[in-house]
């Protein structure tokens, strides 16, 4: 028995979610009185996992895994799980991890719970709390298969240091052929993605047109944030669909979400509700977003946002 986490990287550097998974996995391993293992695929800094409780890392380095392939990655994780006799496998909630999770579930004949929001309250059977109904409720489930897979909801647990030995083992597996081939990837490398961002700045129809998006971008620049938009804005073609957040768009689970000129339709709120702190700036005090937000300013974005940008610049220099 042991626990295995699959830690993801971006250009070789482990993502923040990797350390969050390790922190969560370590706490679960302590509760279950077992050890925490990790698998890394083509990463450079797996030794950093020692700060968060990982005892053993299966380090896979292989060109065949340079491009993400859900089936191949699921195969690699399954092989590592067999190697360390893992009965609980923990994944992040990234697009790639959610893609491979059901494939891994079939390989391991494992029950799988996505969007898990806290540590299991019982170990055997594993009792997990997961968000459901687009963040309007939680479901508490018992997973009873011998091997279990859970995906930790983004930002649900945080990062907690816990020093460990972290023995790094070179891990080799035979390449697996798969009929899905990546032909190209369109990804803006200079911008932080909505999925990975700590702060997301989102604009709605209240901004009146795409020509005013410099307000959103400038504010995002000051805060190192990702930019997002409401559904009407992407439907109108003011911003690309990839920026649309909400129920049918991307989910947001950032630390801070600032909604500017967004009224807060229920579909929008469903997608952004897991953000820790929500700020709304809107001229209409009756906008539904004020009911969902933690902080609000009733005011004109065209006056409030430029001032906010200037004051934040001062704040950033003073607190740098």
């Amino acid at each position: 028995m042991s626990i295995l986490i699959y830690t993801e990287n971006e250009n070789g550097n482990l993502k923040k979610s990797a350390f969050e998974l390790a922190s969560y996995g370590k706490a679960l391993a302590d509760n279950a009185n077992t050890a925490l293992n990790a698998i890394t695929i083509n990463s450079n800094n797996e030794s950093d996992l020692a700060a968060y409780g990982v005892e053993k890392t299966f380090k896979l380095v292989n060109n065949a895994f340079d491009e993400f392939n859900a089936n191949k990655y699921a195969h690699a994780i399954a092989e590592a799980a067999k190697k360390c006799n893992a009965n609980i496998i923990i994944l992040s909630s990234s697009a790639n991890s959610k893609y491979l999770a059901p494939l891994l579930a079939v390989k391991m004949e494992a029950a799988y719970a996505s969007n898990v929001v806290e540590l299991p309250s019982e170990i055997e059977p594993l009792k997990v709390k997961r968000s459901a109904f687009s963040n309007k409720a939680f479901s508490i489930q018992e997973l009873s298969s011998p091997t279990k897979i859970i995906s930790l909801a983004k930002n649900a647990y945080g990062i907690h240091e816990n020093k460990s030995s972290n023995t790094i083992l070179d891990f080799e597996i035979a390449d697996l052929s798969d009929k899905i081939v990546v032909t190209s990837v369109d990804k803006s490398s200079d911008k932080v993605s909505i999925a990975d961002a700590e702060i997301v700045i989102s604009g709605g129809r209240g901004l009146k047109g795409p020509e005013n998006w410099n307000l959103i971008e400038d504010l995002a620049d000051v805060l190192g944030a990702a930019t997002a938009c409401s559904k009407p804005v992407s439907d109108l073609g003011w911003r690309p669909h990839s920026e649309h957040v909400g129920q049918t768009g991307k989910p947001v689970a950032s630390n801070l979400y600032i909604a500017i000129g967004i009224s807060g339709a229920i579909q929008h709120l469903a997608g952004v509700n897991s953000s820790k702190v929500k700020v709304v700036i809107n001229t209409d005090p009756e906008a539904p977003f004020f009911k969902a937000a933690d902080y609000g300013i009733v005011g004109d974005a065209f006056e409030v946002v430029p001032e906010l940008i200037e004051k934040l610049k001062v704040f950033k220099t003073e607190n740098a």
Partner: protein, 248 residues
């Protein structure tokens, strides 16, 4: 090309979410049910395959009789026939197993499911069907073109899109982008009339083992009131975000 579209019967987005029987059951009282939006994008794409490339389109749901109006709506939109597996969909593994079995028996080339349902948000069913039947699998699918046996598709990834090439048979997890919101179809009177005459076959379930049992539901704690900051006092907002919320 034979297409199977999986239809989840879910509460309308604007529904109030409540539970009964000691928070163990979803309270469907007064709730309007709809085709899961992610499924509806996929169903619309399937309609284009039918109209432009002569594909046949069946729809399937694992659920009890109360889900039939949702299947009829899919027929009214233009699907040829519907299948209902007569079982309470309590466990995603089971739902996937039932659909995988039907898919094997009927040799579907393409299975389209929404990337996830908007009620349980599991996101498991399409991938499990694909892995069980050894079909290729693409989820978060935002573009799909098929010529003969060759598939060109795009998948939304964190921070961009990935373009992929593969072959049939294939399972797709659909979402907005595979068609746009403006492409969705509202059934017309003729469609609704025709849907009444289309076959809706009910089959009995083959699997009953449950590995992820829902014990109960909880609602989030009520949120505190919003703290309003005067538009003339931006410094206060920055101070609150820094000292109180600790997010900047």
């Amino acid at each position: 090309m034979k297409i199977l579209v999986c239809i989840s019967h879910v509460p309308d987005t604007t529904s109030k979410i409540n539970f009964t029987e000691n928070n163990t059951k979803f309270d469907s009282n007064g709730v309007q049910f709809i085709i899961n939006p992610n499924d509806e994008f996929g169903l619309t794409r399937a309609m284009w395959f039918k109209e432009k490339q002569g594909a046949s389109v069946d729809v399937i749901n694992v659920g009890l009789q109360d889900t039939e109006p949702t299947l009829r709506k899919a027929l009214a939109i233009g699907a040829d026939a519907a299948i209902r597996v007569n079982s309470t969909p309590t466990d995603s593994w089971n739902v996937a197993r039932e659909i995988a079995k039907v898919a094997t028996e009927n040799n579907y080339d393409l299975i389209i499911c929404g990337r996830e349902s908007i009620d349980y948000n599991g996101g498991m069913v399409p991938g499990i069907i694909a892995a069980l039947n050894n079909y290729n699998f693409i989820t978060n699918c935002i573009a799909l073109d098929i010529e003969g046996n060759t598939v060109n598709a795009s998948r939304e990834i964190d921070g961009g899109r990935e373009n992929l090439k593969t072959t049939l048979p294939l399972v797709v997890g659909s979402q907005k982008g595979i068609v746009e919101e403006s492409d969705l179809r509202i059934p017309n009177m003729r469609g609704i009339m025709m849907a009444r005459k289309k076959p809706l076959n009910v089959i009995e379930p083959s699997f009953s083992e449950i590995t992820a049992q829902v014990i109960n539901f909880e609602k989030p704690a009520p949120k505190g009131d919003v703290k309003l900051v005067d538009a003339e006092n931006i410094d206060e907002l920055i101070n609150l975000l820094h000292s109180e919320a600790k997010v900047i």
